[in-house]
């Protein structure tokens, strides 16, 4: 496991595209000292690595082909209604290329 320090925590935050204040990182670093001890409890369970990871409570069989149903798609103005910067029916963002 990666050693925990403020730079690692900053990296973890930046990977998810946000930042925190220095004071908040300090609080988080302290929180991690407890958290790591809690997570370490999992490693103390005998034979834990022999188990298969569980991703859902139980298997759900939903594979089927539904019938095609003709429908009206979401109108463009409704799809864009919540975007704050819309020009000519498209969301405006900073230029990617000059």
């Amino acid at each position: 496991m990666k050693e925990i320090n403020k730079n690692v925590l900053k990296d973890a935050a930046h990977r998810l595209l946000f930042d925190m204040t220095e004071e908040q990182y300090d609080v988080l670093e302290k929180e991690f000292t407890v958290l790591v001890k809690q997570m370490d409890l999992i490693g103390t369970i005998e034979g834990i690595d022999d188990y298969q990871p569980m991703t859902f409570p139980f298997e759900v069989s939903t594979s089927y082909m539904r019938d095609d149903i003709p429908d009206t798609p979401l109108p463009r103005e409704v799809a864009l209604a919540n975007a704050k910067d819309v020009v000519d029916g498209q969301i405006k963002l900073p230029k990617v290329v000059g």
Binding site: M1, K2, I4, V8, L9, A12, A13, R15, L16, L17, F18, D19, M20, Q24, V27, L28, E31, F32, V34, L35, K37, Q38, M39, L41, I42, G43, T44, I45, I48, D49, Y51, Q52, P53, M54, T55, F56, P57, F58, V60, T62, R66, L74, V78, A79, A81, N82, A83, K84, D85, I91, L93, P94, V96
Partner: protein, 486 residues
Amino acid sequence: MSYLDLTITDMHEALVAKKVTPLELAKEALERAKANNDNAFEGYMDEQALSIAASLKEPEVNNPFWGIPFVIKDNFATRNFPTTGSSNILKDYVPCFDATAVAKLLQAHAVPIAKSTLDELAMGGSGITGHKGPTFNPYDSKHERMIGGSSCGSAVSVAASIVPFALGSDTGDSVRKPAGYAGLVGMKPTWGRISRYGLFPFAPSLDHVGYFTRSVEDAALSLAVIAGRDLEDSTSSTRPVEDYTRLLKTDLKGIRVAVIKEIMDTITNPTVLKAFDQSIVALREAGAVVDNVHFDKRLLGTIYPTYITISCSEVTSNNANLDGIKFGPRFEGNTYQEVMFNARTAGFSELIKRRFVIGSFALMRENQDVLFLRAQKCRRKIVDTLNDILKTYDAVYLPSAPTIAPKFKDSHDQLSDEYLIADNHLAFGNFAGLPSLTLPIGFEKGMPLGANVMGRAFEEAKVFQIAQAIENKTGYRNLSAKEVRV
């Protein structure tokens, strides 16, 4: 006594007898919601409520939700009504569709009154992290005690007799824990029993739609209204919806109930233990066999870290769409990445940023095996152990918390057995996707205490049957904070 103080069942009778109208109930519910000072609401739905209620003229005798006012946790999409998830990053977001659970209630002619506060994006258990600040327990007029979260505002709505029903969501214990702190019935059915379409995802392998009522009978009636297969949610179950009230009047002969001794050993509050023991007597008097069973204590201590690791990891991707571009407040930047970075930095509060970082850390290449994957393995071991108990028992029965609702200023030793086990065991019901219901069993210092019945997958009717036997004995039905404030 107003008709609005009644349970759904009794309110329905009054509506059918035309002693009260949906419009009168809706107006009074809106008045009570606006007069409430527990910080329970994100928005009041006056226009919808009054319009729907006014349109309801002839009572539907066989539809218990006809004209019943209800509240919606603000992480369920509501068409043409703001839905914020109690987060600044969704400020002013107005969905163009209704969540399926909401749509089903509207189809049943229930009347939406308000959207309720929550821990930001449902990521919390205290009811203090929403963008409008802490939500208070209506049983505590000094506002020193929490109601718990994340479904804090919905719990207030029902506990303060503003409405008899409120939608919530439950990823770790977010309906069942506040229900215990607020004298309510809080139900989380089997994973997949209620469609999650339109519920903002937190950790989809653990997320459940849940709800609050003030009686077991109401909880059983409600499930049939909102359960069912939904083509918009591929994880929703294809099993037929049942009459979940069918066993409510049946005694418990032949029912076997397990109490996990190692969890009970971590609870020291004598009032909790006494109330719980009395409820065991009630179960036995109703005909159930109640036994202590064993569960490896060390494994119980891993429930909380397993929950935190899995939920924080899953949420990192689920909330990736909150970027301030398609919806939410816009923050400028020189590149689109900067726009997203600035929106997310300003839009999320500190607490959920910390949870995101935990998830991001657990998913780093160097950590994935030892943290995330190992938590998923631990989840399976916990679930196997729980399901082994349920091979010979119909339900597991435990206090929903080791104390009454804590004060906001209370602190915990987060490595203690009380914190790791007694206070956080309910999440194993999310790991296994089992139906799980909290109901009131007593009071301490005027504050409610709860217990939890957890059954086998898709055996909700039996969970209601067991809970009904306890409610029959305690008499804790239709509790209201209006009458017991401290």
